[in-house]
């Protein structure tokens, strides 16, 4: 009986996934994907991973969905895009996918007992950091190098997107994000929501130290507010040569690096924090990272420059 909700959720996810892959229209497929993203965040709550659920909803479904919808709009009316390949290839792929699925399912069905875990070790050292949210501690202390390098990935992705700017337009602004039928309601939303959204974003970042939430979730909410304002045409996307923009993008990684190197003097090595200063340092790093994430996500959605610099 208690399995019923989980079973229903799993079924819904799989149906939505099949729909996403098999839909003939590409916009239907994107909508299917967004639905999968939202259902998956419910699944993450059921898996007791609220931090991941928030990230999945904000980044996985939300930001990725927006990106894909914009791509659909730019690609225009679509020719039908169904899978239309040789039957032999389809059978071969089907067999391959089934083999992978069966192997994975077998492994999932016969887990190791007792399940190996790092939870006790992670919990044992949390006192040295003084934060209440174990996931934040893993992201910013135990495995801080992953998080640092992942910020570098984001900066590189932004460079990669900007690299697609045609040469004469370099330094200019991305094309307007204005929705096709932008109108009263959107403008109204873009005027009312951002103050609330910014409060919620900051709350998520601040709260992330001790309870679910954190840099990514908060940063994405901030980015969403910015994108909303741009889509309602209240603000234009900034020119990519702007020094302020560039500095905001690197702010997070730079603060993180400074904190990391400070560890050589004030603690015992790169990315280590002295126990009494750990919390303020981490909160500072998180705030800087969130700001950078917000700017990077916004600019990634906006795309390469489409207008020459003024």
């Amino acid at each position: 009986m208690s399995l019923l909700p989980d079973f229903a959720l799993m079924l819904l996810i799989l149906i939505a996934a099949v729909w996403t892959v098999s839909a003939r229209d590409r916009r239907d497929s994107v909508i299917g994907f967004i639905v999968v993203g939202l259902l998956l965040s419910l699944a993450w709550i059921r898996l007791n991973s609220v931090d991941v659920a928030l990230t999945e909803a904000a980044v996985g479904g939300g930001a990725t969905g927006l990106l894909l919808l914009r791509a659909c709009a730019r690609l225009g009316p679509n020719e039908t895009e169904g899978v239309s390949l040789k039957v032999s290839l389809r059978i071969l792929t089907g067999v391959l996918c089934t083999v992978v699925a069966v192997a994975l399912a077998t492994i999932v069905l016969y887990p190791i007992e007792p399940a190996p875990t790092l939870a006790p070790t992670a919990a044992a050292h949390m006192g040295e950091i003084g934060l209440g949210n174990p996931v934040t501690v893993v992201l910013l202390a135990y495995r801080a190098i992953d998080t640092l390098l992942e910020k570098v990935v984001l900066v590189l992705a932004l460079i990669g997107v900007w690299a697609l700017t045609p040469d004469p337009l370099w330094g200019g602004a991305p094309g307007s994000l204005r929705a096709q039928h932008s109108s009263g309601p959107l403008t109204f939303l873009a005027q009312v929501l951002p103050p609330v959204g910014i409060v919620i974003g900051v709350y998520l970042i601040w709260n992330g130290a001790d309870r679910p939430g954190g840099t990514f979730q908060g940063g994405t909410v901030l980015a969403a507010m910015w994108l909303l304002v741009m889509m309602a045409d209240l603000r234009e996307p900034p020119e990519i040569r702007l020094h302020t923009l560039r500095r905001l993008v690197v702010l997070g990684p730079v603060v993180f690096l400074v904190a990391g190197f400070a560890g050589f003097w004030i603690a015992n090595g790169f990315l280590s924090y002295p126990p009494d200063l750990a919390k303020p340092i981490i909160v500072l790093v998180e705030a800087a990272l969130a700001l950078s994430i917000a700017v990077i996500l916004g600019m990634l959605v906006a795309g390469p420059a489409a207008r020459a610099p003024r």
Binding site: H181, S183, G184, P185, L186, F188, L189, V192, L193, V196
Partner: protein, 97 residues
């Protein structure tokens, strides 16, 4: 006290669920975009409002109660704006899906 709160919760949430059900049926059965939208928003506003109302007595402290109210307000705002946009798009001759 707790009995009364629980009764209120059960009643309000059940009523909310009923409106959701009605709205979903409308979404599936009504012929065109505008009437479907009508069914959906009516159900959303009432159904979701009732569920939040029903959950309020269960919140452990004032802060979480306030959060519930904020969630309700945000959903109202998002729902109203989104349905306006959809309606506008539909009346401008978008796909009558």
């Amino acid at each position: 006290m707790s009995l009364m709160a629980d009764t209120l919760t059960i009643a309000a949430v059940s009523a909310g669920l009923f409106f959701f059900l009605a709205g979903t049926v409308g979404l599936l059965r009504f012929p065109d975009t505008l009437t479907r939208l009508h069914a959906l928003t009516k159900a959303d506003n009432l159904g979701f409002g009732l569920i939040v109302l029903g959950l309020l007595p269960q919140s452990p402290d004032v802060a979480s109660g306030l959060k519930l109210v904020v969630v309700w307000l945000l959903v109202q705002l998002a729902g109203a704006s989104a349905s306006q946009l959809i309606a506008q798009f539909a009346s401008k001759g978008g796909p009558s899906a």
